[in-house]
Amino acid sequence: MRKKSLLCLWPLVAALSVTPCIAQPVAPDTKPESVEALRAEVAGLRHQLDTQRREFDARLREMEAKFAAIETAAAKVPAPAGQVSAAAAVAPPRPELAERSRVLPGRLGGAVQSMNPDVSAIIDLNYHADDSKEGISHVLEALPGFDHTHGGEEEHHHGPDEGFNMSHLELQFSAEVDPYFKGSAIAAVSEDGAEMETAEIETTSLPGGLKLRGGKFFSDFGYINAQHSHAWDFVDRPLVYQLLLGDHGLNDKGLQLSWLAPTPFYLLAGIEAFQSGGESEMSFAYSGEEPLPRHDGPRLWVGWLKFGPNLPGNHGLQFGVFGATGKHQEAHDGQTENPPGVWTPDGDGIADHWLDGDTTFWGGDFVYKYNSPKPYGQGDFTLQGEYFNRRKDLEMVGNDFNPALVGNRSIANQDGYYVQAVYGVLPRWRAGLRWEQVGLTNHIDYPDGSEFSGDASYRFGPMIDWSLSEFSRLRLQLNRGEYETDADRDGVTELYLQWVVSLGAHGAHKF
């Protein structure tokens, strides 16, 4: 209504405003001769004025002429049909405007650019040194209660070399498949070749808060398991993960169904079924070769719950509980009992007694994050921790040396936890501290009726890192560990220097 009355008045208003221009109807930029003439005339009439004043007048006339032109053009534009319409709400963009500004294409237009998958690569170099005689990996593999076998395979060392190490090159691809699915994959390329780290499909439009995920993926139990190593706050994985799940964490092929509950707080529940073909040999090894029995997959089931209260402001908190149960098989190289109670490998590399059964684990995790209003991560704070308890319940299914033990059970129960805090001390600089313990529970009942009880080992260490941008990071980390080995306590100090960069698509990180 108001706009209409304004429009009625418009011709009058336009005429009034343009009056000064009509008196001098010369456009200086279109006819330079006339401008000169006009300038000369003005100069003659106002010769008492200084040069500055003259320049100002000319500029003013130039602008007034432009203004008159705009008004004439605008007056010809028909009145908008409705009061609000995106296109009519502003004057049509003129050439100057179009050069500097651009109205982005509509919803469909924008999609064309993102048809290709997002591609990124992570390059991760580190330098490692420790003061142990045979290397930290050797110490960790010999921790009583946490040692393991490879189902008859030859032993190989895990963990870093002394000196330079390249973490595998992570090539990541991800894209929306169609309106229903999303796909992503990570190829882990190392000096020895390439392997499929993950390759997964997930639904994007199931109703009721449900999501189905399939392929080879990291289990979402706990907190750190599903994070990629370059997103960790420390170079190496926590001891409890290293000792109970090995170098790859819990990552296997299978299905996951998860549900976001319609509760007034955050509650996410998930169940996973994995084939479990030996990816996590520390707790879920499987060979199925004689004399070990065959078990059809899925051989590993995982369930978890995540709960997040609604904290105000920049505080975020999440608690999780989890449990898993799966088939586990061990094939041991023969051992001789000499002296009684002390088993030593006979060293021929051929398995001669076999165990089959189930491993279960349960535990909990929490993470608290404070997102500081300061830029570049200064003042950000993260506190996180995880605990898990593993129980291997196995039965002797074959023994070439001592057939009498067949049918006897062996139960191994170990646990561990870590707690770590990281704080943004300066823009782009973070400092962190991690404290870990394993083997607070460390007990084994052997098939022959003997048992073992071990003490806990611990490790702690500071780290400091400098993220020059979101895409590159330099890190220094120290670990000091006191390990409860067969012989006695073994103290090891480790040093890590890490240089990690990410190329390509800007990955967003989960909470």
Binding site: K3, S17, A89, A91, V103, T204, G209, T263, G308, G377
Partner: protein, 337 residues
């Protein structure tokens, strides 16, 4: 028995939640400025929540569980776009399992699609340039003309999602526009020249001639009149976040304290801009409250310029209660002595 109790509790919880979500529309915006405009457009027909509070740097945010919860219940998700939320939008939308607000659906609105965008790179962007957004500078809400355009886009999208309220959304957007026009130009000038023409003339500075015309003398009001004494002045800003505001009010950004977007200031760069500031007689150093004042104060000490610390988002400072109040505050801080 135990199971029955558990099931009942779950059932009651579910029903309560469903009941709570029925009725009013739920709008979740990534930033507080979008929330302020959405509130004005939706009126009492929607509940509006913002992910950012306006106090933090929206480039960096953690996709915390309570954000996922807000997205879960949303009917409309409005983002600023231009990759500003790239570090946290996807985990929130993915985590919410809410198919209504997925990208490409009517429930997902990219406000940048309706805005006039500056700083669109004309050369190939590499990360060696710092945090340059390849689709253009994302701080476009600081141009009040864009605020006006976003209101229309939100009204149109709401009309699509909830056709029953279409008339009301459009009327609210028109009222928002009119109020914004009055605050920008003053009621008297608007009676003389239509708002659309005035906005167009602020684009290339011809507004100066209009105000100087004898027929319009003394008619301008609002932010335009208040900012008039600063027109043509060069300023230094901390981050490249004030180009839109500067463009609309005829200020010129001569340098940034950050050597490259998203890169903290260095001593060498500060020396360079101190020299620039002295040569170009810069009087104002403008920055957001979440940046450290150290660099700006040092620069001010060396050049005699004035440091102006003002929120660039609704909620960034107590006075910035809504979109108009934010602009009021910025204009006030820039023009006070």
């Amino acid at each position: 028995m135990k199971h029955t109790i558990l099931l009942r509790t779950l059932a009651v919880l579910t029903v309560t939640c469903l009941a709570a979500t029925a009725g009013t529309l739920k709008i979740v915006t990534t930033t507080s400025d979008l929330a302020a405009i959405a509130k004005a457009v939706a009126g009492d027909k929607a509940e509006v929540h913002s992910i950012c509070t306006g106090k933090e740097d929206p480039h960096m945010l953690q996709a915390k569980p309570s954000f996922i919860l807000q997205a879960r219940d949303a009917d409309l998700w409005i983002r600023l776009g231009l990759e500003l939320e790239i570090g946290w939008e996807a985990p929130i939308l993915d985590g919410s399992r809410n198919a209504r607000i997925r990208e490409g659906t009517p429930g997902h609105l990219d406000a940048a699609e309706s805005a006039l965008i500056l700083d669109i790179p004309t050369v190939k962007v590499t990360r060696a340039m710092g945090d340059v957004h390849p689709q253009g500078n994302p701080h476009y809400w600081l141009d009040p003309l864009n605020g006006r355009r976003i209101a229309v886009a939100i009204a149109e999208r709401l009309a699509e999602i909830a056709p029953d309220g279409a008339a009301s959304f459009r009327a609210n957007a028109a009222a928002f526009q009119q109020a914004l026009d009055e605050r920008m130009f003053g009621a008297e000038l608007l009676r003389t020249v239509p708002a659309d023409n005035l906005w167009a003339m602020t684009e290339d500075g011809t507004i100066v001639a209009v105000l100087a015309a004898p027929a319009n003398q003394g008619k301008s009001g609002g932010w335009l009149a208040a900012m008039q004494p600063l027109r043509g002045q060069k300023i230094v800003t901390y981050h490249r976040s004030w180009v839109y505001f500067a463009h609309r009010f005829g200020l010129r950004v001569a340098a940034e304290i950050e050597p490259k977007p998203g890169v903290p200031p260095t001593a060498v760069h500060l020396r360079e801009i101190a020299e620039t500031a002295r040569q170009q007689k810069i009087r104002i150093i403008l920055q957001e409250p979440f940046y450290s004042r150290k660099a700006a104060d040092r620069l001010a000490g060396e050049t005699g310029a004035r440091v102006v610390v003002v929120a660039n988002s609704v909620g960034g400072q107590p006075e910035a209660t809504d979109y108009f109040a934010l602009m009021d505050l910025i204009v006030k801080r820039l023009t006070e002595k």
